[in-house]
């Protein structure tokens, strides 16, 4: 027996969810679908390829206050920002689920734990939504993700006929399933068969784009002419890094007024020229060539060396939004096509 959420019960599912959790879900706004906090189940949609912005915003916000500080009588009092409440993010696509797992490693593994991010992760239950019809910009399969991959979700929904087949993956997912149990019907459905159908869906771009050996090839391509060929068209607008579900660079600033202030953390982008500018004015990445190289080397080489995975999930946002078409697909193709002569020289 497998749990199924009938299509007609979706609104009730969201309503019951809101009894215990705050809800973030895809809503249509200004003609596009965005993930937003919402209290209106009627506004939630499921007929979208993907949301414009990725779910990373809700774990690692564009701007967040880390703490307040105040100086009184020679002492400094610090008031930390703490996370409160439980939240559900509904309708996250497999590529974006995968991206959460990739950012987790950055903020979790190693000597330091990033408590602001982890507090949000711990208190958020992620409901994934499998893709029935991958779009022309989708290439998740390039990175081993499929339209049915649940990795990164606490509870996964597979659209099937008149409802959603439910797969519970974690304790948080189990808690949500219990919260909404009156709406979930036990039906004679073979979960493995349903999953298999999604995993086998064609992803035209991804199925033809191979990243095999790209990381190893890039080891010898730091000085390759490909970067000078690719970079002149970059406008430096930074939209790739803002919409990318795996980009996670940030800067911190103190805003001080008198003897009190706040420390803020804001997203930053390696595509901005002042990203690496140092106090004395020196900039180790002085031109677009170095900056474009940095972004793609990080995703296709440096991260692979550190964590064993590519830092891209093929969501296709850069394909859709880069105004000059300088995208992950383009770079991978360029690297695949580039001659090995230069590689040999560098080795």
């Amino acid at each position: 027996m497998t749990k199924v959420l009938p299509q007609g019960k979706l609104k009730d599912f969201l309503k019951d969810t809101m009894d215990k959790y705050s809800l973030v879900a895809p809503v249509r706004e200004d003609g596009v679908v965005v993930l937003k906090p919402t209290a209106d189940p009627e506004a939630v949609v499921t007929d979208y390829l993907n949301t414009v912005t990725s779910p990373k915003d809700f774990f690692f916000p564009q701007t967040e206050r880390m703490f307040r500080f105040q100086k009184t009588e020679g002492k400094i009092r610090v008031e930390e920002t703490t996370w409160q409440g439980k939240r559900v993010i509904f309708g996250v696509r497999p590529c974006d689920l995968g991206s959460l797992e990739l950012i987790d490693r950055v903020f979790q593994e190693g000597e330091y734990e990033e408590t602001y991010y982890l507090a949000r992760r711990e208190n958020t239950t992620v409901v994934g939504l499998a893709c029935s019809s991958p779009g022309p910009t989708c290439f998740c399969t390039t990175f081993g993700i499929t339209p049915g991959s649940p990795e990164g979700a606490d509870l996964m929904l597979y659209p099937d006929g008149e409802g959603f087949v439910v797969e519970v993956l974690t304790e948080k997912g189990e808690a949500l399933a219990q919260q909404t149990e009156t709406l979930l019907e036990d039906q004679d459905v073979d979960l493995a068969e349903v999953k298999g159908r999604f995993e086998g869906l064609k992803v035209p771009l991804g199925d033809h784009l191979s990243v095999d050996g790209v990381a190893a090839k890039l080891d010898g391509m730091f000085e390759h002419p490909v970067w000078a060929e690719l970079s002149p068209r970059c406008l430096g607008c930074g939209i790739c890094t803002y919409l990318c579900p795996t980009c996670h660079c940030f800067g911190m600033t103190d805003e001080v007024r008198g003897d009190q202030g706040v420390r803020l953390r804001c997203w930053d982008s390696c595509q901005f020229s002042d990203f690496t500018r140092m106090a004395g004015g020196h900039n180790p990445r002085p031109t677009k060539k170095e900056r474009v190289r940095q972004r793609f080397m990080h995703k296709l080489n440096y991260y692979v060396h550190r964590f064993g995975r590519y830092l891209c999930t093929g969501c296709g946002r850069c394909l859709e939004k880069c105004p000059v078409g300088l995208t992950m697909v383009h770079v991978i193709e360029k690297v695949n096509d580039s001659g090995t002569r230069e590689v040999a020289v560098n080795e």
Partner: protein, 256 residues
Amino acid sequence: MKIEKKPSVAVYKLSSCAGCQLELLNLEPYLLDILEVLDIRYFPMAKREAGSGPYDLGLVEGAVTSGEEIIRLKKARADCRLLVAFGSCACYGGLPSMKNWVAERLVEERVYPNLAAVHSIKAYGIDEYVKVDAYLKGCPVSRDELVDFIKGVLLGTKPYLRPHSVCVECKLHENLCLFVTEGQPCMGPVTTAGCGALCPSHGRVCEGCRGPANDANPESLVETFEEYGLTRADITRRFRKYAGMTPEFERGAVSS
């Protein structure tokens, strides 16, 4: 804040619409605080009495478009410890610099019936003639940036004047990208931030009033504008509207 000796300020006007000076007066929520800490000695637009120099801080509004203005500008430079190019006209010519690609005689004829007393020259930013200590860009200047700058002067710290493009602030506001999503010819990717992405936040494309950002790529933007169907003349006009006298925007104006 208690100031022992208030820094003295002079506000000058060259060829301009006075809109930037007006922004100084529009700082209403802070104006009384500012008068507590600054001694505004010379400000003909707002004040009848004119105190003589030298001044600690000089704000120069407007482009230089006549020989007489060069003389006044050099006097201002001599009188002021810090001299600020106040607004886009003073920074790099601004709107008046639009005329720089038309013969001076034709421009004069279009505006004045009697040319005997008119001796206009090409419009330049003030750093063509004098050393400038700071540039407050914008048409008009950003009030937030202006307040930050005044604080910096008082504290002796360097104010944060955003070097990057308007795109950054647009994204901070989570605006829908007019350039990418709507295919509109937005100058944001090459224009200096600091305005809070004012125009795009109200659904209008950036006009480039703040001049080139620190790492502008006008050639690439021109290619995209052409894909969007803009004519060569349209593109040139966009780049020469405010800051055609800067090398970066001139590259966009002539790139093909």
